[in-house]
């Protein structure tokens, strides 16, 4: 395949940035999207230009590092995949592909397609944990049976890879799906109950402080989420918030 790429180039956080056009040829349909980007970058390095900076690491859809906004969709046109799992067979010879970073006020661009997602880190630090120290004499794991149903549902929520596609897809740049997933994981498990009220309040407060927008239930996040995190998690988080507001200490 021969393709035209329109890519967002931005030297640094303060640079204005612009779209730049490149051509790549002889792209195999079996390549992954990032392998196609490797071909472009090798081409750029060989011609003495700076390669396009983009985040990636595992290249198997689990680390959550890759984050491209391709043809107007976070992680591109395929469903249920991160950018690194997108394959060129989704495109046709002669296509023009636009590639931009994940955009949101809380995700400032660092360089080209690389954005700063440390706002997600601070939300997790605000309450995304169960307060238990490592001691070596924690109670036996089977002393607390947990229904398979709850464990499976908690696992589904915990599958979030923290990529931020939900934010990039949302017209309000809301992080509700990401935060809802974490709150849900613990809300569904007995271990999470003790701190449930504080957790949800603190995480939501931090989310607001970081400048993420409100949720207006458009559902775009669920569509683009590579891990199929469902909107139910947002509903559950809202219920948890209501519950938390009723808790008096």
């Amino acid at each position: 395949m021969n393709l035209t790429l329109k890519i967002w180039r931005q030297k640094g956080p303060r640079d204005k940035g612009k779209m730049v056009e490149y051509k790549v040829s002889d792209i195999s349909e079996h390549m992954s999207f990032l392998e196609m980007m490797d071909v472009l970058n090798e081409q750029l390095v060989n011609s003495g230009e700076e390669p396009v900076a983009f985040d990636h690491d595992c290249r198997e859809g689990i680390c959550g590092m890759c984050s491209m906004y391709i043809n107007g969709e976070a992680h591109g046109p395929d469903r249920g995949v991160a950018t690194c799992q997108l394959h060129m067979r989704m495109f046709n010879d002669g296509d023009t592909i636009t590639i931009e970073p994940f955009r949101a006020k809380a995700f400032p661009v660092i360089k080209d397609l690389v954005v700063d997602r440390t706002s997600f880190e601070r939300i997790q630090q605000a309450g995304g944990y169960i307060s238990v120290n490592t001691s070596g004499n924690t109670q036996d794991a089977n002393a607390l049976p947990i229904s398979k149903h709850a464990a499976d549902e908690a696992m589904d929520a915990a599958a979030c890879i923290g990529c931020g596609a939900c934010v990039a897809s949302c017209k309000n740049s809301s992080a509700m799906l990401f935060v809802g997933a974490k709150v849900s994981q613990y809300a569904l498990l007995p271990q999470g109950q003790v701190e449930a009220a504080d957790r949800v309040k603190n995480m939501v407060t931090q989310m607001d402080l970081e400048g993420f927008g409100n949720c207006t239930n458009t559902g775009a996040c669920e569509v683009e989420c590579p891990k199929g995190i469902s909107l139910e998690n947002i509903a559950r988080m809202n219920r948890e918030l209501v519950k938390a507001s009723l808790v008096k200490f």
């Binding site: 595992c58 680390c63 590092m65 660092i110």
Partner: protein, 671 residues
């Protein structure tokens, strides 16, 4: 006499760890506040260590090259984590896990370390459940287990196909809690580029801020390296693109011995490569071997017909298939250890029976499992006289529940539906058993410098059993290092904070800056990847699954030549004072180019076959084991620990003799 002292405590193996913990020096909680520890790497090993050390009261500075600790490559572990809980009541015990690990490692690991690992394994599961890790459960609400290769019990805990992710997110949550308390200062997007020694002790590191390019100095009373494995020396592996040996190699150059570099695990079940542009290989978890049967066609005609697309694998009858693992190893069948399974696949493909265009693929077939589960479900659900279609449908649902995400991953990459047609798989580099040499305390040969997780050499000998790396990483970080490091730091309570304004820091920083300046000013013509790919090809062809003297010598010479060319011809665009991914890669590949040569040298001196290291000159010539790997315990029951002396070829070998007091040395037989 060797300079190596493994510091294994005296006494019976069952009591060593307990006695050790009772006797070590402790640091009083008020004093811990005055002690700083640097942890490089926040994967399972580093993340769990950093969190635990901070809980204990130390001041921790943690470093990772990704933008979040949650992205360390531990996240990609799929299959599971072992623990001797014996929840299944199938005869498991601490001793059995210890025994399986030593045997699986082909008797090349240190007994005392492995026993301790087995001993703390049960605590790991308790700890993770308390943190909210959503392990798989059965209908009674208790934890479920699966089996992995090389063992005869079910002791593997799992969270769907994302066990590493869930365990890492558990450690990450513990880390976040301490970051919030101010006990851990987290440096994301930072790369350690050197260790700083003061009076012979590790007292800090030099790191590069990967966003601004700034070179920073950080001091501490002890440094812990938990930077993962070096599988990317092969260019293609199941590791992440950024996985590297730099931290481990830099400490090696500053005095930490590097042990058994040639012990590498080539994993049998990975998706075969499809072309030259390939950037990495994807693992299909070993857990699939619980339910998949591995085969190639018996007849060459069928092989050709399949390659040319004239026949489909499902059209071959049972008689036309060669289930070669079941044929060669009736006792373990498809569940032989990884090294054995990988070599058997290579043997069939070298003989011409590979089933894809490159001739490097075998089938992993789920049809029998789908039928078996389907029938079972039909019975459970009371569907009498179920049709074949109904059985298949029920069976596929079971497979989806067990391996759904893996099957989806496969389909996205290969564009074939593994429920309907067998998967194609081929071995790929996956894990490195070798690494920085450490004693029983997990301390390297440099005082105050520790190494944990995949980066060290301990515990797995010449071959790691499935689901044991996650166990080791968390054992090191949660339960071992926090004790052993305290014993060392007890002497440092009056030292006070370590200054970074000293000549030792000046020198280390200068070295780092000089190298960066070289890359930025070199007027070469070839990209970093160009050299990395060439190195990878030499490693795979000559230091891969089967090795021999002639090719190892060639490999050493070729790697040296590539390295010399690299230093003349490498081209790094951009500048040093900004995010520069090519510069990051250049530094990593420079280190791989040295490590690769030492790797080949280590393989050359080890004239025996053991675990993942297979020397063609050392095979059984007769008897039931004919053609199988031949170990040589008389001459090679030692750990090779290499001391840096400049050129990799000049490295000096130190031997740690391995003693087997609790396990009898036997040939591994999976027949």
């Amino acid at each position: 006499m060797s300079v190596l002292d493994s510091k294994v405590p005296k006494g019976p193996i069952k009591d060593k760890w307990t006695t050790y913990k009772d006797k070590i020096d402790l640091v009083n909680p008020a004093n811990k506040r005055h002690i700083d520890i640097i942890v490089v790497g926040t994967g399972l090993a580093g993340g769990s260590a950093a969190a635990t050390l901070a809980e204990l009261g130390y001041n921790v500075k943690a470093f990772a090259y990704q933008d979040s600790p949650r992205r360390a490559h531990s996240i990609a572990a799929q299959g599971g984590i072992n623990a001797a809980k014996n929840y299944m009541g199938d005869g498991d015990s601490t001793y059995r896990l210890f025994y399986d690990t030593v045997k699986g490692g082909d008797y090349r690991s240190r007994e005392a370390n492995v026993y301790r690992l087995a001993e703390v394994s049960a605590n790991i599961i308790d700890q993770c459940v308390a943190q909210g890790v959503p392990f798989a459960r059965d209908y009674g609400g208790l934890l479920d287990n699966r089996s992995f290769g090389g063992v005869l019990v079910s002791r593997t805990f799992y969270a769907k196909g994302q066990t590493g992710q869930q365990l890492l997110l558990g450690a990450y949550s513990a880390l976040n809690r301490q970051i919030a308390r101010g006990k851990i200062e987290m440096f994301n997007r930072h790369e350690m580029l050197d260790v700083v020694k003061v009076d012979g002790k590790a007292r800090g590191i030099i790191a590069r801020n990967l966003i601004t390019g700034e070179i920073e100095r950080h001091s501490a009373h002890a440094v812990v390296v938990a930077s993962g494995g070096y599988g990317n020396v092969y260019f293609l592996s199941t590791n992440a693109m950024g996985s590297n040996a730099t931290a481990a190699w830099k400490i090696h150059k500053k005095g930490a011995f590097f042990a058994n570099p040639c012990y590498t695990q080539i994993h049998p079940t990975c998706i075969p490569r499809s072309g030259d542009y390939q950037s990495k290989l994807t693992l299909m978890s070993e857990s699939l071997r619980n339910d998949g049967r591995i085969w190639v066609p018996k007849n060459m005609d069928d092989v050709m017909a399949i390659r040319e697309g004239r026949k489909k694998p499902i059209e071959l009858s049972e008689e036309e298939r060669d289930y070669y693992l079941e044929r060669r190893y009736p006792a373990f069948g498809n569940l032989v250890p990884r090294d054995v399974a990988s070599r058997a696949a290579k043997e069939r493909c070298d003989a011409g029976y590979g089933v894809n265009a490159t001739g490097e693929a075998v089938y992993l077939d789920f049809a029998s499992a789908i039928e078996r589960y389907g029938k079972e479900q039909a019975k459970i659900q009371g569907v009498s006289g179920a049709s074949k279609e109904k059985i298949t449908q029920l069976g596929e649902a079971v497979m989806e529940a067990k391996y759904g995400n893996l099957f989806q991953m496969y389909e996205k990459i290969v564009d074939e539906n593994p429920y309907k047609t067998p998967m194609m798989i081929y071995p790929a580099t996956h894990y490195t058993m070798g690494g920085v040499w450490v004693d029983y305390n997990l301390m390297t040969t440099v005082p105050g410098l520790y190494c944990i997780g995949e980066a060290n050499f301990s515990d797995h000998g010449a071959n790691r059993l499935g689901a044991s790396a996650l166990m080791q990483g968390l054992a090191d970080g949660y339960f071992v290092l926090p004790y052993t490091i305290g014993d060392y730091l007890a002497d440092d309570i009056r030292t006070g904070s370590i200054s970074t304004e000293t000549k030792e820091f000046d020198e280390a920083e200068k070295e780092v800056k000089d190298r960066i300046d070289f890359f930025m000013s070199n007027s070469g013509t070839k990209s970093v990847d160009h050299f990395h790919k060439r190195l990878g090809k030499v490693m795979w062809d000559k230091v891969g699954m089967a090795r021999n003297e002639k090719e190892l010598k060639e490999a050493m010479a070729e790697i040296k030549a590539i390295r010399e060319e690299f230093w003349k011809e490498v081209k790094v665009p951009g500048s040093a004072n900004e995010m520069n991914l090519e510069l990051e890669k250049a530094g990593r590949v420079a280190d791989f180019l040295e490590l690769g040569e030492l790797f080949a040298k280590d393989a050359l001196i080890r004239e025996e076959s053991c675990g993942g290291h297979f020397r063609e000159e050392s095979v059984e010539l007769e008897g039931e084991q004919k053609g199988e790997a031949k170990r040589n315990d008389t001459d090679y029951a030692f750990v090779s620990a290499w001391e840096y002396k400049g050129e990799p070829a000049d490295a000096v070998l130190h031997k740690e003799q391995l003693e087997f007091k609790d396990i009898e040395l036997k040939q591994r037989s999976y027949k």
